[in-house]
Assembly symmetry: C2
Homo-oligomer: 223 residues x 2
DNA sequence: GTCTATAGACGGATAGAC
DNA sequence: GTCTATCCGTCTATAGAC
């Protein structure tokens, strides 16, 4: 309780958001948890919506700066040569896994971010899109250069699939335990496992996509 | 408007849930959309919570029965021999992609299901875990048999990652458009793309997981 | 089965004292 | 900056007429 009210509110909100969702978390729950007064949220942030943005911005801005910095370092070292796909994947997704592994609150935030990626709420989507725009552009360029043989559209889908895998990787144990008894306590093992999977998917043989007009029906098997 | 009130409510709820989320969707929105009276939800379903379960059960039970049936067919044909990983992946994830491709409401449902997988709400998680228990057991067994060289824990993680990729694959365009201009109108192409990626990830070289006690710090690169 | 009306709880936000 | 008290809107759910 040494830290100031504003930070305590952010911490409490972060925890409650991941546990109950943005909507189901009330200001009363947050302020009770933060040992602050109900009115404190509006005093410090202005509104619940602004609080949500502050919770994300606090860590997401940093996260994406780290990603850019990692790419800068790799590209400086490569001196204009294309990077290896593995390097790019590791710097983009590795930063996220590292954040999740660095502290309990880092893990909490990554779980929150993973679920929020497909969040339906309008202002959250708009906000995330803005926060990501810069990094995405940089990484797309690096990937395109590293994988000249992969059509851009194919790559964008694979990037999207990789984001899905990351999201589930950090989403916590709830969905995972459904599958079977599993140990998710070792972030290093998680990092290694996720990287193998992502690289395997990214470098998979290219599928033959037939143009939609010509193609004849498929996916009928297995009634 | 030829169909009965109960079905109209289910359809309206499905659409609104995926658009706004479970919590933010109100009974008033649902009944207005379904051209039914506000009291109709409680008359037909008992409560909002029961309505949510009904929306999921309507399609999820069918979906998982299809998956079981697809596996039954493959195993009957194989006469005791292990299946190919690709066959298993195609039957589990193919059924989902096919449902998404079969109709607008199928697509809506799969988007809803994908995001709900990591849903924080307690009763939804419990409900989904029950609905999935049977299929998961069957598919785990088939995969274990097909991939005797892959440690079970490694496989469970890869299955989890694959679910994440599927979730994003059907999650709709919101998260995807963030990445770049992309066409998601061709379900057949999506099916093909996702399968390549999933098989690539599933069959990726096994990572070397060092035991947690011995391991020395890694993931330091890329400051 | 469908409707109106309303109960009863809880949400975010704010005014104003300290 | 922090607090109490409260406004006002919206929510789910239900009672009871038709």
């Amino acid at each position: 309780m040494e830290i100031d009210t504003r930070s305590r509110i952010l911490d409490a909100a972060e925890n409650l958001f991941v546990e109950h969702g943005l909507d189901a978390t009330t200001m009363r729950m947050i302020t009770a948890d933060a040992k602050a007064n109900l009115a404190a949220v509006n005093y410090h942030f202005g509104s619940k919506e602004a609080l949500i943005e502050a919770v994300f911005r606090r860590r997401l801005t940093w996260l994406n700066e780290q990603r850019i910095a990692a790419l800068d370092a790799l590209e400086a070292e490569a001196q204009g040569a294309p990077l290896k796909p593995r390097q790019i994947v590791e710097s983009f997704f590795g930063v996220a896994i590292r954040l999740a592994a660095s502290s309990p609150s880092g893990k909490t935030f990554m779980r929150l971010l993973g679920r929020t990626y497909t969040e339906p709420t309008e202002f959250v989507r708009r906000f995330l899109a803005e926060e990501y725009a810069g990094v995405i552009a940089r990484y797309n360029a690096a990937f395109f250069k590293a994988l000249p043989d992969v059509p851009k559209e194919e790559f964008l889908w694979r990037f999207h699939f990789m984001m899905g895998a990351l999201s589930y990787a950090v989403s916590g144990t709830d969905a995972l335990r459904m599958l079977g008894p599993i140990d998710d306590s070792d972030p290093e093992a998680l990092y290694t496992r996720l990287m193998s999977f992502l690289i395997g998917g990214l470098r998979a043989p290219l599928p033959e996509i037939q143009s939609q007009a010509v193609r004849k029906p498929r996916v009928k098997r297995a009634a």
